[in-house]
């Protein structure tokens, strides 16, 4: 049975922690609302951009060079966000061991470096502290496209899809480079000038990546809110339990003192 002093110290520390998690929950809540608004717009933007590939009915090439981009972030305390991404990425890499891997965010990088270090072509950090802007997306997209070690016929952007405020699901956005779209059955209907194709490729890539980054950020904020809410609730439960224990202990001490006094008095 712990002494009263020990219980008191534990109570104090758990109370402090619950204050911290409560305020983190509040912050994550505000961030989630804002992130969700950006996400709704980014989704429309990304889906509109992918329309060309859908209309042209692009198919994945037979022996396609695959590129997997895992869209994670640097920050923790968000529940299963990063481990879900790592798990799905590892599953994909087990099926496509030759695929190139690009990791956005330190959390997934650490996990994937352990299992598939050879596939990693480049990594990015400083991701996830705020809603991704299109500028940041463009920097990442052009770095990947300009990397001479990376060439692909098919890319999967693995991200966390925002299902609801309490649920997310790891999913992948398909991206076909312009070289593949040119081969698509319905593409011959389109008129275009050759010299815009490279710019189109970069633009479509940045657009899809932007969608993945912004929606991934929204899913992460929502998961952080839920995680902090659970932590605060658990801390609250622990505080009640410890308080009861403390009071029982206090009463036991008082009872013992009373017994001492009474037996002492009756001895006189």
């Amino acid at each position: 049975m712990a002494t009263l002093k020990e219980i008191q110290m534990r109570l104090k520390s758990v109370t402090n922690i619950s204050k911290i998690t409560a305020s983190m929950k509040m912050i994550a809540s505000t961030k989630t609302t804002r992130a969700q608004r950006s996400m709704n717009v980014a989704r429309v933007y990304g889906k509109t951009s992918s329309e060309l590939a859908t209309q042209a009915e692009v198919q994945k090439a037979e022996a396609a060079n695959e590129l997997l981009i895992t869209v994670s972030s640097d920050k923790g305390l968000c529940g299963g966000i990063h481990s879900s991404l790592s798990r799905q990425s590892r599953k994909y890499l087990a099926e496509h061991p030759e695929a190139s891997l690009v990791v956005l965010g330190d959390k997934a990088k650490v996990q994937l470096q352990r299992s598939y270090p050879g596939n990693i072509k480049c990594t990015f950090s400083q991701i996830g502290s705020s809603i991704p802007t299109f500028d940041e997306t463009c920097v990442i997209a052009s770095t990947i496209l300009n990397d001479k070690d990376i060439s692909f016929d098919n890319a999967k952007l693995m991200y966390n899809r925002f299902v609801s405020a309490i649920a997310f699901e790891t999913d992948a956005i398909e991206f076909y480079p312009i070289s593949q779209i040119l081969e698509a059955p319905n593409f011959k209907a389109y008129e275009y000038q050759e010299d815009v194709l490279e710019n189109l490729n970069e633009f479509l890539f940045a657009n899809s990546m932007h969608w993945a980054l912004v929606e991934g950020h929204a899913a992460e904020m929502a998961a952080k809110r839920t995680a902090m809410e659970n932590a605060t609730k658990n801390a609250g439960d622990m505080i009640s339990r410890l308080t009861l224990q403390y009071n029982r202990g206090r009463q036991a001490v008082i009872t013992n003192e009373l017994i001492d006094i009474i037996t002492g008095a009756s001895a006189l």
Partner: protein, 148 residues
Amino acid sequence: TRTYASEATGATGGKLVVNFVLPHESVMAKREVNQVDMSAVSGDLGVLADHVPTIEQLKPGVIDFISDSGSQKYFVSGGFAIMNPNSVLNINAVEAFKLEDIDPQAVAANLAESQRLVASAKDEITKEAAVIEVELYETLQSALAAKS
């Protein structure tokens, strides 16, 4: 049963549907318009319903959306306009603003600044970026002058 053939207006019924989206704002979603005039790298073009499918890279310039209720002009920084076989025109741009929301004095000041940058640039990349800025502000100035 027999019915009279309806007026042939193309597979889609003669409507031009526009999706005009930016990374941070959906300006138009499934909006029906009559005509869209744009400034592309390959030249200016006007798109009507059932226009032949095309892929156009947009220059900084004005996009004019003409419908029965009038014309709405936006200045875009650049992007792509893709006309699909189902008479849906998708425009992905990076930035777009209504002409009336743009301050001509700010444009003039920024243009002067960019011109100074072109003259004083120390390396190719800075100079290229400044040249692009000058083109942008000059186009913006003439667009603002034309509308008034």
